[in-house]
């Protein structure tokens, strides 16, 4: 299965942790990666080995690149926003400045940028906001209007740092519990906002349920939708075939690797209804 989309910039490096700060329930972590930073595009991710040499955790963990700085005081660096979820991400969050991690990246596809000015909406759920800030900057520089909508179950799970907000024309927050912004699920607020901001392109990143709901809305409004999906990945580099999503295909369903043909994919091509896929297989 030779894919044209393999991210040819990917390399394997020992990356030094140069900062690790707790921000709400997340860890904002910075890694010295040298020239690798220059190759990182918004939407790309990295795969990090966790647990150390005698760990029972044998697979890498994937994290979206929040920001890549080509030239900083420590050379090139990348930043991640990590939720301490299970053992692997907890291990990563527990790294100290000066520790090294084995990192492969940049991996996967990047967000596509409209060729002309367009009204864009960037929708992020939880740490799904991470890759959207770099995208916002890019879009803004290209002259696009950027409306950002960030949601989470509760206020402190919205990751929206000050410096990230510079590039956005508007920022709307939603929380399931009403502790900040609009009360309710993020997808409920979207239709009204699309109308209000005359959105022409949607970018989204977050849990699969959210992406699926947005895909439906994008279809109804008939606007393009690029989403960054999150499937469990064993390798991150395209060799294991575990990370697939079903997409529509002339002969029915095709399973494509989200680590190579994604994580950023065309929301209208993905078959979101699991049951229909299960039945068809």
């Amino acid at each position: 299965m030779i894919s044209q989309k393999i991210n040819r910039s990917a390399v394997q490096i020992d990356a030094e942790v140069i900062s690790n700060k707790k921000v709400g329930p997340y860890h904002h972590m910075v890694f010295a990666v040298g020239q690798v930073a220059a190759a990182c595009k918004p939407g790309n991710f990295v795969a990090i080995s966790v647990g150390g040499s005698q760990s029972a955790l044998i697979l890498r963990r994937a994290f979206a690149i929040y920001r890549a700085l080509d030239k900083g005081p420590m050379g090139g660096s990348i930043e991640l926003v990590v939720a301490a979820h299970g053992e692997g991400s907890k291990w990563l969050c527990a790294r100290n400045v000066g520790d090294f991690v084995d990192l492969v990246g940049p991996l996967g596809t990047a967000f596509g940028v409209p060729t002309t000015n367009a009204n864009t909406m960037l929708i992020g759920g939880g740490y799904g906001s991470a890759p959207l800030f770099a995208l916002a900057e890019l879009l803004k520089n290209r002259g696009c209007r950027v409306d950002m909508v960030l949601g989470a179950s509760t206020a402190n799970k919205i990751y929206a740092p000050l410096e990230g907000k510079r590039s956005v024309s508007s920022l709307t927050l939603t929380t399931d519990d009403g502790s900040a912004g609009i009360h309710g699920q993020i997808s409920e607020a979207i239709p009204r906002l699309i109308r209000e901001y005359k959105t022409e392109v949607i970018y989204s990143c977050g849990p699969m349920g959210m992406l699926s709901a947005i895909a439906k809305i994008a279809e109804e409004f008939d606007i393009s939708h690029q989403c960054s999906v999150e499937e469990a990945m064993a390798c991150g580099i395209g060799v294991c075939m575990t990370c697939v999503v079903p997409i529509k295909h002339e002969d029915g369903i095709k399973m494509v690797r989200t680590c190579i043909d994604g994580p950023v994919m065309d929301g209208s091509e993905i078959i979101w209804d699991r049951k229909s896929v299960m039945d068809a297989l």
Binding site: S3, I58, L59, D102, G238, C240, M241, C243
Partner: protein, 310 residues
């Protein structure tokens, strides 16, 4: 430091070194090629290919387990036509040594695949993955009974012609692996690949359902290495002249050496590549260093060394 002859033989074919990829763990090579030249490894064993394109299973397709993982891919693949048209020429262009793994749902499908391969140049061996459910017999895995295993091998042998070595890949999920090995050796295979994954299951205690969409999956990784070593040791003991491609949880040169001492003539690296894209290269280099340290001048002297008297 003396130089090490690192080459190995499987049937009539020679490989420059004994470290191979494992089927299904290197896709068809192009993804790894950006991390190292494919000529660096002994051979690339391609993902098991079937006659027709296959969608495979729904996700979740994997679950990490202590020092291992489960997978349930369902043999997703492009089918033999596309494979021969695109993947093989590309691998040939990279000057990679190629071992093609084939899989079928019926005895005939294996035969059809073998016939398609007979005229293809640039292939060094065919690995017959018989750990597939036999749709003609209640989905019982071919590798689980001597008679079905033999039927597949005979079908391949009849169709492949020439001198392309046939490697039969066995499942460890059997009462007596030596019995299965004996049967397929009798049916004329040149080599055995040991071991495929063990059947396992993980239940997600949050949803309280099996974690994988396919419910069960294949267990691989360091967790299963002791089972691989045992299987290789038993089979090499019984058939010291049949070369074995060993695999199962190899993640370092030490691990590769362990399988070689047990009786493997070559070692495939699977799951370790997921944790480290350059694992095969590191393992190859570590192995060469270990062998040299131990005073081996010829890699082949180490094969099955654990069987010899003290």
């Amino acid at each position: 430091m003396s130089t090490l002859d690192f080459s190995t033989k499987i049937g009539s074919k020679r490989f420059s070194n004994p470290i191979f990829t494992a089927s299904g763990c290197a896709s068809s090579g192009s993804e790894l090629a950006q991390f190292f030249p494919l000529t660096e490894i002994g051979a690339i064993v391609t993902k098991s290919i079937m006659t027709k394109p296959r969608t495979g299973r729904m996700t979740p397709r994997m679950a990490e387990t202590p020092s291992g993982m489960l997978n349930s891919i369902g043999l997703q693949g492009p089918g033999i036509d596309v494979f021969l048209e695109k993947d093989i020429p590309w691998l040939v262009s990279q000057q990679a040594k190629i071992i093609v793994s084939i899989a079928g749902e019926t005895v005939d499908e294996y035969g059809v695949l073998a016939r398609r391969l007979r005229a293809v140049s640039g292939i060094s061996a065919v690995e017959v993955n018989i750990s597939c459910p036999n749709v003609e017999n209640r989905g019982q895995v071919f590798a689980c009974q001597p008679d079905t295993a033999v039927a597949v091998i005979e079908s391949v042998r009849r169709n492949i012609g020439g001198e392309l070595p046939i490697i039969a890949k066995l499942s460890p999920d059997v009462t007596d692996i030596v019995e299965i090995a004996a049967a397929v050796i009798n049916a004329g295979v040149d080599s055995l690949a040991l071991i495929n994954t063990l059947l396992g299951m993980v239940i997600d205690t949050n949803t309280m359902r099996p974690k994988l969409a396919g419910k069960t999956g294949g267990l691989s990784g360091p967790a299963i290495r002791p089972v691989a070593v045992r299987a290789i040791y038993q089979v090499h003991q019984a058939f010291p002249n049949t070369p074995i491609v060993g695999m199962g949880g190899v993640a370092s040169g030490r691990d590769a050496l362990e399988l070689i001492l047990a009786g493997a003539s070559a070692v495939s690296v699977g799951t370790a590549t997921f944790g480290d894209p350059t694992a095969v290269i590191k393992i190859k280099n570590q192995l060469a260093e270990l062998l040299t340290q131990k005073g081996f001048n010829d890699f082949r002297d180490a094969i099955g060394f654990a069987h010899r008297g003290i």
